[in-house]
Symmetry: C2
Subunit: 313 residues, 2 copies
């Protein structure tokens, strides 16, 4: 048995601050057309892929901040991508900044959608693990204001029956947290899609700046292996408005092995043939959760948020 899904990873190079959504969508469609020629069923784009990554800057003015968000999806600027999907019969995963009006107020989320080969939206995910902080840090070479500009996602870690398997989504920093993968693994996820914007330099811990690529793959490899799932991670890479970001977009097999990987820091398409049935070895033996997990000993994971003292005995 084999359930082959051909997945294209559509890494993006930098997007300049004044580059329009229309121009970015031209780049996205070009990558999708290449992917279609390579027989792809699905193309995965990065996080917040329609504009420059504005959480790197302090923005005071609310109208200016709102201008970085999408009020509807699709919208006229992005419609050509949906049209291309329908025409080429290629699904896609796309991250974008979402402005929603819910519960009687304006809300902002870091969002991703999964779109089918018919150009219809299958599902939406809103980023849960927002990195960074809410205050201004003038001494740092750039800001990391996701905790200021976005609310924590309110849609959980959903998994969808799609593309002949079970498909989940996460975004960027979610991939460093084993809980993200596990909640999807417990729903039988076979393919987890994610985009990221990851600066090379972390002003809060510069002593680890040389380890960015290592950590990027380490967390996706272990998340894949420990849940018996494919993991697809796609970067916006290169130097964007002065911020140097890692690339290394890749597809990880349920074995934890890297199947394909980008090696540039620009727009780059690579393709992996993902057999969803390769998940079965892991899900039915060493990671047969029903046989081996012991939730009665995992309580602290939901009972504590931060680290506390050792448990009394």
């Amino acid at each position: 048995m084999a359930r082959i899904l051909n997945v294209g990873i559509a890494q993006l190079g930098p997007i300049s601050r004044n580059e329009s959504r229309q121009d970015v969508v031209v780049r996205l469609v070009a990558l999708m057309e290449d992917a279609a020629r390579m027989g792809c069923d699905l193309v995965v784009y990065p996080e917040a892929a329609l504009t420059a990554f504005f959480p790197h800057w302090w923005i005071d003015d609310e109208d200016e901040l709102d201008s970085w968000f999408e009020r509807a999806m699709p919208n006229p600027a992005v419609q050509p991508l949906f049209d291309a999907a329908r025409r080429l019969k290629v699904g896609f995963h796309l991250g974008y900044a979402e402005l929603a009006f819910e519960d009687g107020r304006k809300r902002r989320f870091n969002t991703a959608i999964l779109v089918g080969k018919d150009g219809e939206i299958i599902g939406k995910y809103r980023k849960i693990h927002l990195p960074g902080y809410t205050d201004r840090r003038p001494g740092d070479p750039f800001q990391n204001l996701e905790k200021r500009y976005f609310e924590v996602g309110n849609l959980g870690f959903p998994v969808w029956h799609a593309f002949g398997g079970r498909v989940g989504m996460m975004i960027c920093n979610d991939r460093r947290w084993p809980e993200s993968y596990r909640v999807m693994g417990l729903q039988g996820a076979e393919l987890i899609l994610l985009g990221y914007n990851t600066p090379v330099h972390n002003p809060a811990m510069p002593e680890t700046d040389d380890l960015g690529n290592f950590h990027n793959q380490l967390v996706m490899q272990s998340g894949a292996y420990q849940n018996g799932t494919w993991v697809v991670g796609v970067a916006r890479a290169g130097v964007e408005e002065g911020v140097d970001q890692i690339g290394q977009s890749c597809v990880i097999a349920p074995s934890g092995e890297v199947v394909v990987q980008c090696t540039t820091l620009g727009d780059e398409l690579q393709v992996a043939r993902c057999d969803l049935d390769l998940c079965n070895s892991y899900k039915t033996s060493i990671f047969n959760f029903a046989k081996h997990r012991r939730p009665e000993h995992y309580g602290l994971i939901v009972e504590r948020t931060g680290a506390g003292d050792v448990l009394g005995r």
Copy 2:
């Protein structure tokens, strides 16, 4: 600031079925004496380190089964190791099969203890993630009967204030489960000690036999990084009673990097200088749990044991 702990990894080669505990303890003491000469504060021995790994065989007779277990710790056969610890002022971590009389009945656990430089037991852990099965599989070249011979540990994943830091223990298969590390990480663990017996060949999924060493390090590296803790894993290695087992005992830094690693499949001591303060970069920034974790979205981790269907939306 630095809180340096010198940790010796005391990998063992095979132990034959007819090798006495006394003979094994001679090997353990020899490794400890070398470790003391290297300035070690602590020596880490493998899982069930006092005998051959009997869960690889079907044992019908209850008296014979019991003969593989320790009824007290220390006991006369193991006392020389405790004496050496006191004499050399070196602590140790030791795995053994434990026969206990609790709740009015005989109980068997796969256990590990942490012993101080004064030769006194600081804490005990009983393995939670038992691999394998309870039935006999005559077609397999060896058995994996931990689920038959042991009960699931009933002491949780405790962490102790010890050796100037916070020290936790797990055993073998526990290391493949991110929950094990996380429950300790939530208690501020800075050093996690574990031993393992890991066959090269897994009869349930032979297609992954070439990945044993890769998976061994992958799970310890991600567990270390994602919790900002040192992880020390020590093997019983080599061909024991016909079962070929991996080695690759190693010390992993909070960065996820391998600091030191054994390269033989026999008795081998290697030493790492572990600065417990290296945990701080991770615990106070990218893995500051209090700031970034979102337990309200982790419920499934404790609500489900096995994988189920996708959540309805």
